[in-house]
């Protein structure tokens, strides 16, 4: 089998664009999914039962169905059945953000619940309002505790952006498979694709491990 690696170098611009698109998708999705997740977590902790039920149903639904199917649903069903036409990038980001918001909301909820009731009571006793107690006392502690879980979600999201290649968003996997189809350099392209993901993903996985060690909740 003769391999021709120059073909990878020839397409370096496309690979770079693909990698940048992957990073862009990750960053945009996460910046939507962090507030989204926090909002959902608050809705799930709301004293109103219907609000709580709706938020729970949303979260459980998105957590119990495959992301790729959610993306397909957004891409094929929204335009065909509801006549909602969005650019591909927006469709991909919406699919990813709804999914990641659901996962983030569970993380935030666990973090908020983990701060003991006594702290809320102490804050209220000092004359703080409920909102102040949440913003100044509960939230900072909760965020520190959920950082490791958020780091894991970040790494998963980075990898899951590859799924939007199925709806023709030109991120790294899509670009690699396109070049593969055009040049018939199968093994070179598959190796380049895996290697670029590895180069980007490995440090992130290691960073997530470090955050785990650094911010671990002590028993």
């Amino acid at each position: 089998m003769n391999l021709d690696w120059s073909v990878v170098w020839d397409h370096r611009r496309q690979f770079l664009d693909g990698a940048l698109m992957t990073i862009l998708l990750t960053v945009v999705t996460m910046s939507l999914a962090l507030p989204g997740g926090l909002l959902l977590a608050l809705l799930r902790l709301s004293p109103l039962r219907p609000v709580r039920l709706c938020a729970t149903a949303f979260v459980e639904f998105f957590r119990a169905t495959p992301l790729i199917l959610q993306i397909y649903w957004a891409f094929y069903v929204l335009p065909a059945t509801f006549d909602i036409r969005l650019p591909d990038f927006a469709t991909g980001v919406i699919g990813l953000s709804l999914n990641v918001s659901a996962f983030n909301s569970e993380t935030f909820r666990a973090g908020i619940i983990s701060v003991r009731q006594g702290q809320t009571n102490a804050g209220l006793a000092l004359g703080l309002s409920k909102t102040q107690v949440f913003i100044y006392i509960i939230l900072p502690q909760a965020i520190m505790r959920v950082l490791p879980a958020l780091a894991n979600t970040w790494v998963s999201l980075f990898k899951d952006t590859s799924l939007v290649s199925t709806i023709a968003i030109a991120e790294l996997s899509y670009v690699s498979l396109q070049i593969r189809a055009r040049t018939f350099r199968f093994l070179e392209m598959l190796t380049a694709m895996a290697a670029i993901y590895w180069i980007m993903g490995y440090p992130q996985a290691k960073l997530a491990d470090w955050i785990h060690r650094r911010f671990k909740v002590q028993e």
């Binding site: 089998m1 459980e60 639904f61 957590r63 119990a64 169905t65 495959p66 992301l67 790729i68 199917l69 959610q70 397909y72 649903w73 094929y76 069903v77 065909a80 059945t81 509801f82 790494v155 990898k159 899951d160 952006t161 590859s162 799924l163 290649s165 199925t166 996997s173 498979l177 199968f186 093994l187 598959l190 190796t191 694709m193 895996a194 993901y197 590895w198 980007m200 993903g201 490995y202 992130q204 996985a205 290691k206």
Partner: protein, 221 residues
């Protein structure tokens, strides 16, 4: 908007076959992933550094590459290198299983090391062999602690099996795509597929939660 379920009802066998394949692929990938993961996790916890480095490299590689890429590699890459050609389903099972094994190995290692080393030493003073200590003292406690993360890995694998549609494994997602293309009824087909996945994953998640809540007191040390 009129809902027309006949495309699904007419071809229910085609979809049922997809569901069956999803269940088979998921359970075989889970068996492979748990077996391999247990093996790697034990090696990394109890054997020296020289095994830790290659195992760690495998685990971290699987954790930093998307499942999609692993599946494409399993189906297109491995046959090109080794000359062995296998069916999409086998490639899907191997790809999903290898990906899962890395996460299982991490959970196993974290669970085993979470049992305090004093217990191991106590076992040694009682004259037990290291294998006996691991089997009768460490694993039973660690297994309960590992249950929630391992349970979520099971559910993640069922969901990830849908990604195998990309390499044309005839599972539920793939069969749904085909029917959606034939009938031009994406709404009904994909919604039904989503409900079916939900009906598999949601009870599974709740079941594991309940099991853990019953067993949790046994795992505290």
């Amino acid at each position: 908007m009129p809902i027309n379920l006949s495309p699904i009802l007419d071809r229910w066998q085609f979809l049922a076959y997809g569901l069956w394949t999803t269940l088979v692929v998921s359970s075989l990938a889970i068996s492979l992933g748990f077996g391999l993961g247990l093996f790697i996790g034990l090696l990394r916890t109890y054997y020296g550094r020289w095994l830790d480095v290659p195992c760690g490299f495998f685990v971290d590689t699987m954790r930093s590459i998307p499942v999609l890429v692993i599946l494409i590699w399993a189906y297109f890459g491995i046959p090109l290198i080794t000359g062995i050609s296998w069916s999409t389903t086998t490639a899907g099972i191997v790809g999903l299983g290898c990906h899962l094994s890395a996460y299982v190995a991490e959970v196993i290692r974290a669970g085993l090391t979470s049992i305090r080393p004093g217990q191991f030493r106590a076992g040694l003073t009682l004259g037990m062999s290291p294998f006996q200590i691991v089997r009768t003292i460490i694993v039973p406690q660690a297994a309960i602690r590992m249950l929630p993360p391992l349970g979520s890995l099971v559910i993640i694998t069922v969901k990830d099996s849908a990604i195998a549609a990309v390499i044309a494994v005839p599972e539920l997602m793939r069969q749904s795509q085909i029917i959606a293309q034939w009938t031009f009824r994406p709404f009904e087909v994909y919604t039904v597929a989503m409900i079916v996945y939900f009906l598999i994953c949601f009870p599974l998640a709740r079941g594991i939660d309940r099991l853990y809540r019953r067993l949790a007191p046994l795992g505290s040390s």
